[in-house]
């Protein structure tokens, strides 16, 4: 078959498929590739949708928030000023009182309890997985954390009301612990966040270079001393980043608090973890779940709460990423 191939000559099919100039030389000039150009723009458009999402969030939340602050009451006074919004301790939409503090307080309370659970346990689990567990044990334990991470939050909410709350009431007494309370919501939220913190911390721990560990062992440190004095400090920024992401998830979590923390804003000072109190997200969920009329002050106030939540969590996430990036540079 070699014989049929002659030097410098193409077979008929291939020659026909290629385009040549009049003099028989190959045509290599640019051709219009409309389809390729079209696809490129389609794909660019896809990418821009995500920008529009962010833009949409900012515009929608911003616009409705502005509406809240520009609403006037019967006396022609604004129903709420920015100062009152952030610093007054009463949130009663019916009485035109829009002070975020009671909602913020319970948000911080549930998040605090959650972090109290998730940080030590998540970090402990991460240390165990990355420093102590054999590859086989790690291989069978990690999926369990992944299952925990994959359980829908409404299921955690159910767990809080049907398990954690009765448990707390059993331990501390029904008189002390109300049925709806921030402690139960916070504890369960901590379990929910545990896998996030564990897996991010584990990444940070396993990124610590081997030679640092070896140096520590070489100086006759025990395993725990190596972990606590060398590995943890080296991985600290990654762990801090994990904690910040954890806080951000706790602050934004809705279903657990909507089911377990209680309905109705409640300003308690000093904070009482065993009484019902409504968080920012819980309030948004409860109010919008009812018959909410558009263009009402209530409606606008939800978006103002949402905007505050958005800015807060965005700030936390940016901070976490900034810390992670700094950390990466340190070892590269």
């Amino acid at each position: 078959m070699q014989s049929e191939l002659q030097i410098g000559r193409k077979s008929e099919v291939i020659a026909k498929a290629l385009v040549n100039d009049a003099d028989g030389s190959p045509r290599i000039e640019k051709r219009a590739r409309l389809f390729d150009d079209f696809i490129r723009y389609v794909l660019l458009f896809c990418g821009i949708v995500s920008i529009f999402t962010t833009l949409g969030i900012v515009v929608v939340l911003g616009r409705e928030s502005l509406l809240l602050f520009s609403t006037l009451d019967a006396q022609g006074q604004p129903v709420v000023t920015l100062g009152e919004f952030f610093f007054s301790t009463s949130w009663q939409p019916a009485g035109l009182k829009f002070g975020i503090l009671p909602l913020l307080e319970s948000t911080l309370m549930t998040s605090f309890v959650a972090m109290l659970v998730a940080l030590p346990l998540g970090l402990g689990a991460a240390i165990y997985l990355s420093e102590y567990a054999s590859p086989r044990v790690r291989g069978s334990l990690k999926p369990i954390l992944e299952i925990l991470a994959g359980i829908p939050t409404v299921v955690y909410g159910y767990f809080a009301v049907t398990f954690m709350t009765p448990l707390l009431q059993g331990v501390f007494g029904r008189d002390t612990v109300q049925f709806y309370n921030t402690a139960s919501a916070g504890l369960v939220m901590g379990i929910m966040i545990l896998p996030t913190i564990a897996s991010m911390s584990e990444d940070a721990l396993s990124a610590v270079p081997r030679n640092l560990r070896e140096a520590s062992y070489g100086l006759s440190a025990t395993k725990f001393e190596t972990i606590s004095k060398v590995i943890l400090p080296a991985a600290l920024s990654g762990i801090v980043a994990a904690a910040i992401v954890g806080i951000s998830r706790a602050v934004g979590e809705t279903m657990i608090v909507a089911l377990a923390a209680g309905a109705g804003p409640n300003w308690t000072m000093p904070p009482n973890f065993f009484v019902a109190a409504e968080t920012i997200t819980g309030h948004i969920a409860r109010i919008s779940g009812g018959d909410l009329s558009y263009n009402s002050v209530d409606y606008d106030s939800l978006f103002a709460l949402g905007f505050a939540l958005f800015i807060f969590t965005l700030g936390l996430n940016l901070l976490s990423r900034y810390i992670t990036n700094r950390f990466r540079e340190a070892y590269q």
């Binding site: 070699q2 002659q6 410098g8 099919v13 291939i14 290629l18 190959p26 290599i28 000039e29």
Partner: protein, 269 residues
């Protein structure tokens, strides 16, 4: 269109390659003769692969890469304003250092190029696939199992499959970037024999770090070497240049430049 020996398929004229505005290869002038094997040799970092990849505009895929000078092909400069790299690559094929079959069947690997050219007819494709695989001396080993994944073949077979894939579109020139460097000696020998066979129909340019290989297979050899200069701030700048170009026999038996001789004797690499 028939060509006589001695005519060039490609002419590199004052080719310079830059990466991110840093000179990588300076002023290369090489004629690539029809139906001959031209070998590029030289120490690592001398830019021989870079020059090879500039011949079918594969460098375009590397962000920041830029070519100056002329690569003439049928009297057209491949780096002219109006040239479409896609069309160039349909005429000037490439075989890579590591065998890189698509994760598809042997048949689909070979039929991919013809399909890109718009050939859809099943019987025509069958013919092209058979002819190309035979041309790469792989037919007897795979003819019963063309549906098998290309990745299931041995390294040497994979590289011959890649060659079959390249010759399926019957390019004017085949560029080979160290095609045997990932293979064992027996597979290497098969590839070398295949190249001598292919050169009857095709023009081949091969980059190799193996001087014996260049000596065995090539008709012409271009030796690249490295130039260094101290930059302000104490940093060293390196770039490749064409050290010597000659018929292979002549270059190896009677090198003109002292540097070539030292390289051939194995004094640096």
């Amino acid at each position: 269109m028939t060509t006589t020996n001695g005519a060039t398929a490609i002419d590199l004229k004052s080719v310079k390659v830059f990466y991110n505005d840093k000179l990588a290869v300076d002023d290369v002038n090489i004629p690539i003769y029809h139906n001959k094997i031209t070998a590029f040799i030289g120490p690592s970092g001398c830019g021989k692969s870079t020059v090879l990849r500039s011949i079918n505009r594969m460098n375009d895929l590397i962000p920041g890469a830029r070519v100056e000078g002329q690569v003439l092909y049928h009297n057209k400069n491949l780096y002219g304003d109006n040239v479409d790299p896609v069309e160039v690559r349909r005429r000037i094929g490439m075989v890579f250092q590591k065998p890189n079959p698509f994760p598809k069947s042997i048949y689909d690997n070979v039929a991919y190029g013809p399909r890109l050219l718009g050939i859809r007819d099943r019987r025509t494709l069958d013919e092209i696939v058979e002819r190309s695989i035979k041309g790469a001396y792989l037919w007897d080993e795979v003819k019963d199992d063309l549906k098998k994944s290309g990745l299931a073949l041995s390294g040497g077979q994979q590289q011959r499959l890649c060659i079959a894939r390249t010759i399926a579109v019957e390019p004017d020139v085949i560029l080979m970037d160290e095609p045997a460097s990932a293979l064992d000696p027996i597979a290497t020998q098969a590839i070398e024999e295949l190249m001598r066979e292919l050169v009857k129909q095709y023009t081949i340019v091969i980059v190799t770090h193996n001087m014996q290989q260049a000596q065995r297979v090539s008709d012409y050899t271009a030796f690249f070497s490295i130039r260094k200069a101290e930059e302000t701030g104490g940093q060293e700048r390196r770039w490749g240049v064409l050290g010597e170009y000659a018929p292979t026999d002549q270059l190896f038996s009677n090198p003109k430049a002292e540097e070539t001789e030292r390289y051939i004797r194995g004094e640096f690499g």
